[in-house]
Every structure is written in C-alpha cells, then in structure tokens.
Symmetry: C2
Subunit: 206 residues, 2 copies
C-alpha cells in the first residue's frame, strides 16, 4: 500500500469505517476534505458531532427525532395513531413517507430476527409493539419488513404475537415492480406475485 | 426528495461536498455515521479537523508534509536531490512512490496549464521549479504530468522553460499498459506507443 502522512492516513481510516468505502475511495474522500477551506472542514466535523448529539430516538415509535420527546410523526395531529406500519429500520420511514398517501404512524423494530447473528425477539422492539397494540386504540398493523427470509420470519413472528389482539394485520404486497417486464422477474418474485394475485369482482369483468 | 430531520440532512449536505458523492450515497454515509459510537464519531470529526491542521505544504517541493519544514522525502539523506520528478498534484507523489525504485525528489506544480479555466503559468509552481533547477545542483528533470492535452501543454511549457538550463529533461514513457492487448488500445495510446518505440541494439537481434 501507498504511504500517506499520518493525518491523511488517519482520515482515510475513518472514512473506511463506513460500510462499502474501500481504500481508494477513502483516499479520494480524504483528499477532497483536505481541499476544503478550514471553515468548511470545521462545518463538516461539526455536522458529524451534531448528528450524534441532536438525533434522538422517539420513545413511541423508535424512529429518529430531532427532539427528546416523541417525533414529528407521532406528535402530529394529522396522523392516525390507530394504524401502525412496522418497519425494520428508522431509514425505512423516510422511504414509506415518499408515497405520501400513508397517514398512519410507524413502529421501528431496529432490525430483523436472525438466530444465526444472535438477534432474538428480545433484541428488537417487539415487546414494545405488543404493548403499544394492546394498550392503545390500534385498529390495524401493517407489516413492512423486507421480502427477505429474515423479513419473512420477523413478519411471521409478529403475526403470531398479535393474532389474538383483535387488530387487523396485513403485510405489504410483493410482486412484479410497476413498469417491469414479467420475463425478467425472478422466480421468487413471480411466485409471490402469483400467490398475492388480486381477484376482480365478477361485475368488473376480467 | 425524502425529508430527513435537520441534523441528518445537514450531514448529508456535508458529505455531498465531496466530488462524486450523490444524494443516495451521502444519505447512506450519514446513517453509517449515526450508527457509530459517540467516541468513534468524535474521532472521525477530529480526523477532519486534524487533516486541515496538521498537513503542511513542503516549502521545497510543495508536496504534503506532516511538519512545517521540508517534507520526509526532501529532508531524507537517502534521496538524490539532483533528480527532480515534476508531478501535477501532491497525490501523484504517492502513486510514483509505489514503484519504489525512484530515489530522486519531487516538484508539485499544483495543477496543469489550462487557459480556458484561467490557469496560467503564474498559478502553478513553475517559477519555483525554474529557480530550483537553476540554483541547485540538479542533473535531471523528469516530467510526469498526465498524458492529457493539458498535461502535454504543461510538459511542453516546462521543456521550453528549462531547455537552456543544461539539465537533462525527460518525460515518462506513454504506451500500451503492461498486460494489455494491442487490439483494445485506443488510437492515441497506440500512436504514442509507436512514437516512443524503443530500438534494440543490433547485437541483441530483433
């Protein structure tokens, strides 16, 4: 490996902490920072400190909040607290919010069940979900875990946990992406699309 | 665009200052930083401050130095100060050092001549190179600017500037990369390889 002077090598090592950033990319980033003005570099450093200092976990949904109390979504009067969308990570809330139509609230599990990685129900916010559903006036729980084996296992666990709670349980539909060609869909997606096929009412014809 | 809470959006914007980092990548990096321990995040922030504070420009070669005086290469008794390799950027020194065989010193121009971008000889360390060559006991100047139109122009400028100085002037050989196939070489590289062809001594056969 090439030899960088100590302060540069140190910054390269820090950039390499980010998953997916290799040695060459980290070096390019370090030199980009070196080319910033001292003020801009100070701002960058401060933003890193700030993200750790000013980002809080919402005590209701475990999503990210800019205040120590409940987050913008949980505390909004416009949101319907009787519908909870369960997601794996806080990031997924941003993704779900993109569809705009959803007016319910969220519950962040903080991961998925994975016995091989020692992630058990106790490591996720599952007991908190159970409590939230049984204590509040929740009508529906929409499970939005990813369509992966671990996401499926976690969804199945939630269904079992909540099936006697009386709330409606559903999971996001998985199938052919809009605009995609059936020819190029993989087998698993295709069989999921077949299982999840929607029947038309007789009246509406085929 | 998705809406992130302010401290995260701020860090995303900082990451986007790095050339080549787009919105999605910056968001991924910001969340990776959010997942660091507070100590690790503080270390990252400090490394950014450190690279601006502790990296100096060598007053001899204009490369990067971890001290305010001349850099490790210029102050090393093992390096031959009579051979100067002229490079565009400080980063290029790291690249050249990879071949290990080179025992001379360097001179960083800090860019290439580019009239369209208002980069004139005065914006580069060309007068400093001229002074260094004429005042010192320099024997050879190896021009290692990139084989681009701007790199070529800059090399031609240096040759004109130093041709009456009495030192040997050379430029890195450009041609087919080792291990590459002639079939896939582009026309410019191929004609450079032809121009730079090396003649075998009659004694050594073909």
């Amino acid at each position: 490996m090439a030899e960088y002077i100590a302060p540069i090598q140190r910054l390269i090592d820090e950039f390499r902490r980010i998953p997916g950033v290799g040695a060459k990319t980290a070096a390019r980033y370090a030199f980009a920072v070196l080319n910033l003005s001292p003020d801009a570099a100070a701002g960058f450093a401060d933003a890193i400190i700030g993200v750790k200092r000013d980002v809080h976990i919402c005590p209701v949904c475990f999503g990210l909040s800019s205040k120590a109390e409940s987050c913008e979504i949980c505390s909004s009067p416009d949101r319907d607290a009787s519908v909870i969308c369960v997601v794996e990570d806080a990031k997924d809330i941003i993704t779900m919010e993109r569809i705009r139509g959803y007016k319910g609230v969220y519950h962040v599990l903080g991961g998925v069940l994975s016995p091989l990685d020692n992630v058990t129900p106790r490591d996720l916010k599952l007991a908190e979900l159970d409590k939230r559903v049984r204590e509040g006036s929740v009508r529906e729980v929409i499970i939005a875990t990813n369509p992966t084996p671990k996401g499926d296992t976690t969804a199945a666990y939630i269904v079992r946990m909540l099936e006697d709670s009386g709330v409606r349980l559903s999971r996001l539909a998985y199938g052919i992406p809009v605009g995609a060609n059936i020819e190029y869909a993989d087998d698993v997606t295709l069989s999921r699309a077949m299982e999840g096929r929607r029947f038309f009412e007789n009246k509406s014809g085929i």
